[in-house]
Amino acid sequence: MKKNTIQKGLLKTYPNWFYLPAVITFAIFFVIPTISAFYFSLTRWTLFDATFIGFDNYVSFLSDPMLSIGLKNTFIYAILTSGLKTVLALPLAVMLTSNIRFKGFYRSIVFFPVLVSTIAVGITFSILMQPNSGLINVVLGSIGLGQPDWLGNPKLALYSVVFVDVWKGIGIATVIYMAGILAIPNDYFDAMKLEGGFWIRFRHVIIPLVRNSTFTIILLSFIGGLRSFDLIWAMTGGGPGFASDVLTSVIYKQYQAGFYGLSTAGNVILFIMVTVLIFPLRRFFNSREIEL
C-alpha cells in the first residue's frame, strides 16, 4: 500500500515537461530544417529555385562510379577509429586512474589534442607527415626505416588520417572510461584483491563493470566515424584522387559544386545507412546496460 503511493508519487517526480526545453529547441532548429531537406532531395535545386524531379537525384547518387570507394572507406574509417579508440583508451584509463607517477601530467597531455581545433590538427599533421621534410619521415629515415608517403600514397592515405583521428579523439574516450572506472564501488576491488593480481581485476572487475562506458564510446565514435568530415577534409580532401573519399566528403563536394538537391539526397542516404546500423546496435547495448 505504502510502496504503491511512493511509486505513484515518484512518477510525478519525473514530470514530462522536463523534456520540453530540449525537445522544443531540437524540433525547431534541427527537425524542421532536416525534414524540409527531405523535400529538397527530390528536386533540382540551384539555391535560387527548385524543380521537382522525383528520385532522379537518388539514381544519380547511387550510380556514381566513385560511390563504392566512398562507401568502403566510410566503413573502414568508422570501424577502425571506433575500434582503436575503445581498445586503446581502456588501458590508458586504467593507467591514469592507478597510482602511477605524473598522473596529472599524463591526463593533461592525453586530453590536450581534444582541445585544439580539428583544422589546426589536420594542418599540423599533414606537415608532420610530409614525405621528405616531414618530422615523422626524418625520424624514420634516421633509424633506417622506410619513408612512406603517408598522405600521398593512395593505399596509405586513409589509414594515416585514421591514426590522427584516434590521436585527437582518444582523450574523450579515456575520460569516459576514467569516469566509469572511478564509479566502480570499492567493494568489488576489495573482494578481488584477496583473490588475484592485476590481470584478474582487469578481466573480471573492470571490463564487465565499465560496460556502459564501452557502449557509449563505441556508439559515439562509430557514429562520429561514419559522419566524420573535417579531419579528412583538412588532411587529404578525399585524395589523392578518390583514395580517401568518404561519404561525407563526396556529399560535400557535390554541395560545393552547387548540386544541392543531389547532395541533400546523399545526406538522406547517409542518414538511412547510419540509422540501419546504429539503432539495432543501440537496442542491443541498451538491453545489456548494467546498473551498479
Binding site: L10, Y14, F18, P21, V23, I100, I127, L128, L292
Partner: protein, 278 residues
C-alpha cells in the same frame, strides 16, 4: 627479486613517460616552433629551431591584423560558447533525468529522436531560411540556438549514462521528504551529475569554440567573426603564410586551454568525489 620488480617498475614508468610525451607533445612543440619562424623559413616546414625568434612579432601581427579583429573574434566565440553550453547543460540534464528514470515508450521515442541529431549533419540552406523567417539570422542568439540543437544530443547521451550510476533510492528518499521535482533535480541530481557536467562542459565548449563550419554559414558578417574563422584569413587558395597561420593557431587555442586548466582539477576531483559508491 624485489629489487628486480622495482627496477622493472621504474623502467615501465620511464617507457610510458617517453612514449606518451613523444606522441602527444611533439606536435605541439612543432606548432610553437613554426609560430616563431619567419615566413620564408616556415615555408620549408622543417622541425627546427628558428634562426630568428619571431614568436612575439608573429603573435602581434596576428592580433593587430585587420583592426584588432582577433579581439572581436575571441569575444564572439566566448559569448557563443558560454551561452550555448549553459543552455545545453540545463536542457540535456533535465531530459536525461526524466528519460533515464522513466524508461517508458515516450522516453525511448524522444531519445531516438535526439539520437538522429547525433547522426545526420545539419541541412545548411533550409536552416538559413528558418533563421531568416524567425528574424534571427546573423544574430548571436540564432547561432546559439543552432549550436544548442546540434550539440545537445551528445550531452544527453553522456548525462543518461551518468544517470544510470545514480541510485533511484536517492529520488525516493527526497520524495518522501516532500521535495518537488525541481528541487530533487536541482539539489539532488545535478550535484551528483557534476562529473558528467564537467565532461560535457569541457568537450562541448571546446567543440563549439572550435567549430568552424557552423559560424561560416549561420553567423556571417565581419562583425560576427569567430576564432576559428580567423584561421581562414591565412589559408587562401593561392598563398600561405605558415608562420602566421601557426601563430593564429596558438592564439585561438589559448581559450580552450584556459577552459581546460580551469576545469582540470574538477575533471579529476569531480570524478573522484562525485562518483557514487555502493
Amino acid at each position: 627479486m624485489k629489487l628486480k620488480k622495482r627496477s622493472s617498475y621504474y623502467l615501465a614508468n620511464i617507457a610510458v613517460f617517453i612514449l606518451l610525451s613523444v606522441i602527444f607533445i611533439i606536435p605541439f612543440i612543432y606548432i610553437l616552433l613554426m609560430a616563431a619562424k619567419s615566413s620564408k623559413e616556415a615555408a620549408l616546414l622543417q622541425f627546427s629551431l628558428p634562426s630568428q625568434f619571431l614568436f612575439l612579432e608573429n603573435l602581434k601581427a596576428v592580433i593587430v591584423f585587420g583592426d584588432y579583429r582577433m579581439f572581436r573574434a575571441l569575444l564572439n566565440s566566448t559569448l557563443l560558447t558560454v551561452g550555448s553550453v549553459a543552455l545545453i547543460v540545463v536542457f540535456a540534464a533535465l531530459f536525461a533525468f526524466v528519460s533515464q528514470r522513466k524508461k517508458d515508450k515516450l522516453a525511448s521515442v524522444l531519445m531516438s529522436l535526439l539520437m538522429i541529431g547525433l547522426m545526420i549533419p545539419p541541412a545548411v540552406v533550409p536552416t538559413i531560411f528558418l533563421l531568416r523567417s524567425l528574424k534571427i539570422y546573423k544574430t548571436m542568439f540564432g547561432m546559439i540556438m543552432i549550436d544548442v540543437a546540434l550539440f545537445m544530443p551528445f550531452a544527453t547521451m553522456i548525462f543518461r549514462t551518468a544517470m544510470s550510476t545514480i541510485p533511484r533510492d536517492l529520488d525516493e528518499a527526497s520524495f518522501i521528504d516532500g521535495a518537488t521535482p525541481l528541487t530533487i533535480f536541482f539539489s539532488v541530481i545535478l550535484p551528483l551529475l557534476k562529473p558528467a557536467i564537467v565532461t560535457v562542459v569541457v568537450t562541448t565548449s571546446v567543440n563549439i569554440f572550435n567549430d568552424f563550419v557552423g559560424p561560416l554559414y549561420f553567423l556571417p558578417g565581419a562583425k560576427n567573426i569567430t576564432a576559428p574563422l580567423t584561421l581562414y584569413s591565412f589559408i587562401s587558395q593561392f598563398s600561405t603564410q605558415w608562420n602566421l597561420l601557426f601563430a593564429n593557431v596558438v592564439v585561438v587555442s589559448v581559450i580552450p586551454l584556459i577552459i581546460f586548466i580551469f576545469f582540470q582539477r574538477q575533471l579529476v576531483s569531480g570524478m573522484m568525489g562525485g562518483a557514487v559508491k555502493g
